[in-house]
Assembly symmetry: C2
Homo-oligomer: 382 residues x 2
């Protein structure tokens, strides 16, 4: 049996909302549009895509640490256990949640919420994907602080990204009126989440000034997350609560192994965020920071400066690139000599078993290549 969530209890606590904060980093997805660099065995979050010297998951962890201290949990596939451990040696075993099979974000983030709720029902969780690039960290942290204060007032709070172009690749958040919340001067209510729009609709959204990109960042009391999950996905809720009850006991593995495979696959947006918005329980803090989800190789060009005296961005330790009248991006994951002659806006990704050659303009279509390779059975390189 699952313990009922007592939402009323949330309002009576003495800690500052910030003391209740606990970071959660869902680290999933294979980043197929960054194939062959990013792939099932080495997804996007395990790469240093900004030339900073840190992998994206490490940078995400370090961006949250000033807010959360060691109260950080990572949810990832069991195949990435060793790599994530290497990246985050500080992480406790009980804070590394390993999925035996992918179950979408509803189960991943929901399990984090359920485990944290079992530890302390007052926790305010903040969920931030492991593969986004954000700067400066201070502005991100300021937005999260506002989000935590807003969450403490009983909201699921998303951080909205100011759209820079009419993207058809993101969902949008439609903001409502400002909220009057201490510690969160920029908080707004959210009227709805909308799915990826057409270009024309995206343009209207941007022109209206009412819409932000939905980057999937949520800050919310775990109890409120679970309340909506219970209402919308009772089977998922029950399963997650059963695993969570066993998590900090000896039967963790036994229960997880038994229950996890039975859970429904659903995105957290459908399981929690959209119904919560319809119920008036969602708020938004605008993010005043630069944000990039590194959706394709063109993004890598944006995020990394070109070489001196060249229009070529070269990534990769030990890259040996010779170029003449060439521009674009070279990602070298081998020690091979790469010679480029007379070619513009090219994207070259050189890995030991697979080579991609495309252009910045076609960078989004890399996903299709991966799908075709999968269809043709060439799965050894995916």
């Amino acid at each position: 049996m699952c313990p009922a969530v007592n939402v009323e209890a949330m309002s009576t606590h003495e800690k500052s909302p910030l003391d209740r904060f606990h970071g959660v980093i869902p680290a999933g997805g294979t980043g197929t549009r960054l194939w062959p660099l990013s792939r099932a065995a080495a997804p996007k979050f395990l790469h240093d895509l900004t030339g900073s010297g840190s992998t994206l998951i490490r940078a995400t962890y370090e961006r949250l640490q000033p807010l959360s201290g060691k109260r950080l949990m990572v949810v990832t596939g069991k195949a990435h256990r060793r790599a994530v451990r290497a990246q985050l040696p500080e992480l406790k075993d009980s804070d590394l949640v390993l999925e035996s099979e992918p179950k979408d974000s509803g189960a991943a983030i929901g399990l984090a919420a359920a485990i944290l709720y079992h530890r302390d029902p007052d926790i305010i969780m903040g969920s931030f994907a492991a593969d986004q690039v954000i700067a400066p960290a201070e502005d991100f942290q300021a937005a999260v602080r506002e989000a935590v204060h807003t969450a403490a007032e009983g909201y699921i709070v998303t951080i909205g990204i100011l759209p820079t172009h009419p993207s058809t690749g993101f969902g949008y958040i439609r903001a409502g009126d400002p909220l009057d919340i201490a510690g969160a001067p920029s908080a707004h209510s959210v009227i709805e989440f909308v799915e990826k729009p057409s270009v024309a609709v995206a343009r209207e959204y941007i022109d209206s000034g009412k819409y932000s990109w939905n980057a999937g960042m949520f800050v919310a009391p775990v109890a409120l997350m679970l309340k909506h999950l219970e209402a919308n996905e009772p089977l998922l809720y029950a399963g997650l609560m059963e695993i969570a009850a066993a998590w900090d006991t000896r039967s963790r593995n036994e229960v997880a192994r038994r229950v996890w495979p039975t859970l429904p696959k659903i995105a957290i947006d459908y399981a929690v965020a959209e119904p919560a918005a319809a119920a008036g329980d969602v708020a938004m803090i605008p993010g005043n920071f630069s944000w990039d989800d590194v959706g394709d190789f063109a993004a890598i060009g944006r995020l990394n400066p070109a070489m001196e005296n060249s229009e070529l961005t070269v990534m990769g330790e030990g890259a040996r690139v010779f170029s003449e009248n060439a521009s674009g991006i070279v990602v070298s994951d081998t020690k091979r000599v790469i010679a480029l002659i007379g070619i513009d806006d090219v994207v070259i990704v050189d890995t030991p078993d697979a080579l991609l050659v495309t252009t910045k303009e076609h960078a989004q279509e890399v996903k299709k290549a991966v799908e075709s390779l999968r269809a043709s059975g060439d799965v050894d390189v995916l």
Copy 2:
């Protein structure tokens, strides 16, 4: 002391000119414009660049065999001994001339002439580079037969290639009047060899109808070759004759090792062909066959049909190429998956230690890449 060449003796023999024919295949050059496929350790002639299943040197050998039988000699660098042996298992040891260091075509072809002269002063040699693509073989052989008949009348005979465009990459041959030679109805005298021209001059040449490309094909009595060599390059002549005298004896290696490094480097064009033309000793047979020196990767595109339902030419056994909206040439010398998306007229050459990405238009500039790599010390991949 060197034996004097008795040119007068040439006119008194009873064999048919064709019985006197002996093929010579100089196999040199690294084909830097085909880097990184062609390189010092694996030059152009050791590759199958036409998708025929034969390397260029094997195809050259088989094209000459109907004319020469086993009377075929190969001159190449000692580094290629094993590879040439593997390609031409029929070749006798005494017909594989190995250069301990490169000495240009004057020494290479001159040594073949000298060795053959020592074996039989009546031999008519035909020298054909190992890395040219010619079809159909029958038309080539018909031209060589005419050339042999012409050579037997006391000419150094070149086979002229009908120019298809005003190339600035080839030397040209200026033909004179027709010659009246039995068995060689298309033989013409040659007025001069001219160096690589400008585009404007090349256009004039083509419009005049008097010029052919010089593909470096020579058919000539060895005695006549040596007569001109002796007159123009007496030191080279003397050295070659000394090696040749020892060639079919036990002291071959000792003499070659001692003399070869002392020989001057000069092209056969300067050492023999041009002075012979000035002396009126050169004739020309027009070659009525298609000819390609596979000068760059654009040529590989011409010589190999594109894949069905695609504008992409893919070369390489076991190539795993996925393409979408891509055209051009992929040469795969690895088992890697290569994905091309939205890129036109591209040239990709994928080898274990070096990758080239360029366009057909810039294919000629590959040579520059090689020069830059050499200058920067990246000689391991050259």
